[in-house]
Amino acid sequence: MSSLGHVLVLAGGLSYEREVSLRSGRRVAEVLRSKGVEVETRDTDASLVPSILADPPDAVFVTLHGGSGEDGAIRSVLELLSVPYVGAGPDACRVAYDKPTAKAVVRDWGLRTPDSVTLPKETFHDLGASAVLARIVDRLGLPLFVKPSRGGSALGASIVRKAEELPAAMVGCFAYGDTALIEKYIEGVEVAVSVVDLGDGPVALPPVEIVPDEGVYDYAARYTAGHTEFFAPARLRPEVAESCLAMAVTAHEALGLRDVSRTDIIVDADGNPYFLEVNVAPGMTETSLLPMAAEAADRDLGTLCTRLLEIAASRG
C-alpha cells in the first residue's frame, strides 16, 4: 500500500494531442487505482488552480502531451502552487521540448543526431522559399524528414524522398507549427528508450523497436492497435542495444530531465544510433512505448507510477 494520500492526474489540454493525453491519463489513473492510490483526473481549464488550492494533492502526474504539458508552462504553474509533480522542471522541459535546441544540447554531449536545419516560416517569407529549399536539398541530401520544431505524435511530419515533395511537406509541417526542423532522414531501425529514475539515478528500460506495417510511424500507425509491430526488447545486438541505452541516459542527463523521459532513436545500417528527440511526458496509452518497455523489464506499471509519485511527493 502506498503512503500517498490523493494524487492528481492531469490529462487533456488544448494541444493537438489532447485525445492521446486523455487516453494516457485514463491509463495512468487506472494503474494507480489498482495500487490503492486515490486518484483524481483533471483537464487543464479555469477550474484547475482553484481546485488545487482548495485541496492540494500530494503529487501530480502530468500526462499532458504537447503544448503546455511539455513546454514547461503547466509545470511552472504547479511550481507557483508549490505542488510537487512527476517529471522535469519547467526550464528543462522548455529546452527538451524544442527539438532543435535539444539536438544542439545532446550533440555537445557527444551524441550523434541527424544533420538538420531549423527555419521559421518567416525566413521563407523574407528570402523566398524555392532558393532556400533548393539549398537545403543540396546541403543535406535526400531523403529528408520534415517536422514541426515542437509537438509530437508525428503530427505535421513527413518523409521527403524527392526534392519536388519538399514544398508540400513544408506546408504540412507549418499547419502544425511556425518553425520547421528539416533533418537528414536516416534509414534504419526505429527504437524508443524510456528512462526512469527511482531515486538511484536514471536507468534505461529495455529498448522498444517499432516496425510500422506501412513503413511510416505516423499517427494512425501509432494509435491503431495492430498497425505496428513492436519488439521489446528490440532485436539489436547487445553492443548496439547498450549504446542506445547509454544514449537515452546521456540525453536525460544532458537535458537536465528528472524522473522519467523517453528518447526516440534511429539505428542506421551500420548499427550507429542517432538521437531524434526526447519526450518529457511520454505517452502512457495501450499502444505507447514506455508501458511496453516497463513490461519488458518485468516492472509493473502501477508500481512504477506510484513510486514516481512518491518520489515527487517526497521532494515536497
Binding site: 521563407f124 499547419a175 531501425v189 499517427y219 494509435y223 492497435a225 495501450e286
Partner: protein
C-alpha cells in the same frame, strides 16, 4: 550476425502487435484506424473552441421541464408497458402520429407501412443491409451525408457520386451515372438523396427536378431512398412535397424526430412499400429485437400533449437567425476566392476555399485558432472535397458563429500566404474515417 547492413540487429523473432486479433478482422474493418483529424476534433469539444463542426440540434430550446414531467408521468402511469419489450415494427400509436407528421409534406400513408427505427440512421443501416451485396452501386449526391457513407462502406457498397448545383441533384448527371453503371455491368441498387437542406451542402432539390429525378429512377428501375431529417426546418417557405408523396411505390422515405424534437430519444422511421417494409421489420428484429418502447412512448406523449408544430416553428426561427449570422459573417469576413452555399433551411453551409488550399490541412491551424469545421473529404467516398468544408450554424449562438467565422477567415488568410510561399497545397492524406463522432457530427 554478419555484414554491415544489418542495422545492428539480431535474428528476427515475433513482436507484439498489441491487438491479438489483428489478423482476424473482417475486410470492412480495414478503414477503421486512428486519424489525425479525429484527434483534432477532440480539441473542438472544449468550450474555448467555436465548433462549426457539429451538427447537434439546439435542444436547450426545448421546454425541458415539460419534457421531464412528461417522462416522469409516463413511467408512473404506463411503466409496465414503457419498460417492456415492444414490437419490431414499433408502437402502433406512434406510427399513426408519424403519419400525421408526414402529412405536412404531402405524404398520405398508413401506420402499417411505417417501421420505427433507432434514429433514421438505423433505417439507413437496415435498408442497406437488405439491398446491398458487396460491390453493388449506391448512387448518392456528391457530397453526401457522412453517416450514410459510413453505412454504405460497412456493407461494402460502391458509392457513385452524382453532381449537385444550387437546385440540388442534377437530373442529367443522374441519368448519365445510371447509364454509365449499366454500360459497365454494375448493378445500381438505389439512389440515396437528402432533398431538403442537404447535409452537408445545404441545398434543396427544386420542385421541377423532383419530378425528373423520380422519372429517371422509375425508368431505370432504381429505388429512391429519400432521407429527410431537415424538411420541416425551412426558413423561407412552406415545405416542398416529399418525393414519396409523388411515388409511393418507388421511394423509401426516412424520417426522424432528431431535429424536430431531440436526438437523444433516437426515434426515426422508415416508410416503405409493403414488401420492403416486411423485410425491414425482420431485419429490425434481428438487429435489436425492438426499438426502445420507453422513448417511443415518450415521443408519442410529447406529440399528443405538446404544441409540437409551434416548437418546430420556434426551432425554425432560432436556426434562421443563426443562418443569417453565418451568411453575414462569411460575406463580411472571408477572403476573396471563397464561395459558399446559401441554405434556405437546415443546419449547414458548404464552403469552397481558394485553389491550392486543402481544408484538411487547414484544420490544425484552425484548431490552434480555436475554431473547428469538418473537412470536405469526409463527405465523399472517392477522395473529392479537398477544397470544401462543412460549416454548421445549428449549435453556437449567433455571436459565437460570427467569432468562429472571424477566426476561420484569419486561418484561411494565413494558409493563402503559405500557399503563395511554397506554391503548393498540402495534398497527402491517409484515407479512412476522418470525421467527428456522433456528438459532433
Amino acid at each position: 550476425m554478419t555484414g554491415e547492413q544489418d542495422h545492428g540487429r539480431t535474428t528476427a523473432t515475433h513482436g507484439s502487435r498489441i491487438d491479438a486479433y489483428v489478423d482476424r478482422y473482417a475486410a470492412r474493418a480495414t478503414g477503421m484506424v486512428a486519424s489525425e483529424v479525429r484527434a483534432l476534433f477532440a480539441v473542438a469539444s472544449r468550450p474555448e473552441v467555436v465548433s462549426l463542426a457539429g451538427g447537434m440540434p439546439y435542444v436547450t430550446a426545448l421546454p425541458l421541464d415539460v419534457v421531464g414531467e412528461l417522462v416522469a408521468d409516463l413511467v408512473a402511469r404506463r411503466g409496465p408497458v414503457a419498460l417492456q419489450y415492444g414490437s419490431g415494427q414499433g408502437d402502433p400509436h406512434l406510427r399513426e402520429q408519424i403519419c400525421e407528421v408526414m402529412r405536412l409534406e404531402g405524404i398520405e400513408a398508413g401506420p402499417d407501412d411505417v417501421v420505427v427505427t433507432v434514429g433514421s440512421q438505423q433505417a439507413l443501416d437496415l435498408i442497406t443491409r437488405i439491398f446491398i451485396d458487396p460491390g453493388d452501386v449506391v448512387l448518392a449526391e456528391g457530397p453526401s451525408y457522412v453517416g450514410a457513407l459510413g453505412t454504405f462502406a460497412a456493407y461494402q457498397a460502391n458509392v457513385v457520386h452524382v453532381a449537385m448545383d444550387d437546385d440540388g441533384l442534377v437530373p442529367e448527371a443522374l441519368a448519365e451515372a445510371i447509364e454509365a453503371c449499366a454500360r459497365d455491368g454494375r448493378r445500381v441498387k438505389f439512389l440515396y438523396t437528402i432533398p431538403n437542406f442537404q447535409n452537408p451542402a445545404g441545398v434543396t432539390l427544386s420542385a421541377e427536378r423532383r419530378r425528373r429525378v423520380l422519372e429517371i429512377c422509375r425508368r431505370a428501375g432504381v429505388l429512391v431512398v429519400e432521407d429527410n431529417p431537415y424538411g420541416l426546418l425551412g426558413f423561407d417557405a412552406e415545405p416542398l412535397r416529399a418525393l414519396r408523396a409523388e411515388d409511393p411505390d418507388g421511394v423509401v422515405y426516412l424520417g426522424s424526430f432528431s431535429k424536430t424534437l431531440a436526438p437523444g430519444f433516437r426515434v426515426g422511421w422508415a416508410l416503405a412499400p409493403h414488401a420492403v417494409r416486411d423485410k425491414l421489420i425482420l431485419a429490425m428484429e434481428s438487429a435489436v429485437l425492438s426499438h426502445s418502447t420507453f422513448t417511443q412512448l415518450a415521443v408519442g406523449r410529447y406529440l399528443e400533449t405538446q404544441p409540437w408544430r409551434e416548437q418546430i416553428k420556434a426551432f425554425r426561427e432560432l436556426y434562421r437567425e443563426r443562418r443569417d449570422a453565418m451568411l453575414d459573417a462569411l460575406q463580411n469576413l472571408m477572403p476573396p476566392g471563397c464561395t459558399w452555399t446559401r441554405p434556405a433551411g437546415g443546419f449547414f453551409v458548404w464552403m469552397t476555399v481558394p485553389e491550392g488550399l486543402d481544408s484538411k490541412a487547414l484544420l490544425p491551424r484552425a484548431v490552434a485558432a480555436r475554431v473547428a469545421f469538418v473537412p470536405g473529404t469526409g463527405f465523399y467516398a472517392d477522395g473529392q472535397g479537398a477544397r470544401q468544408m462543412r460549416l454548421s450554424f445549428c449549435y453556437p449562438e449567433p455571436d459565437r458563429i460570427k467569432e468562429g467565422v472571424r477566426r476561420l477567415a484569419g486561418v484561411i488568410e494565413q494558409e493563402l500566404e503559405v500557399r503563395d510561399l511554397f506554391g503548393t497545397g498540402h495534398g497527402r492524406h491517409r484515407p479512412g474515417v476522418d470525421t467527428p463522432g456522433p456528438d459532433l457530427a
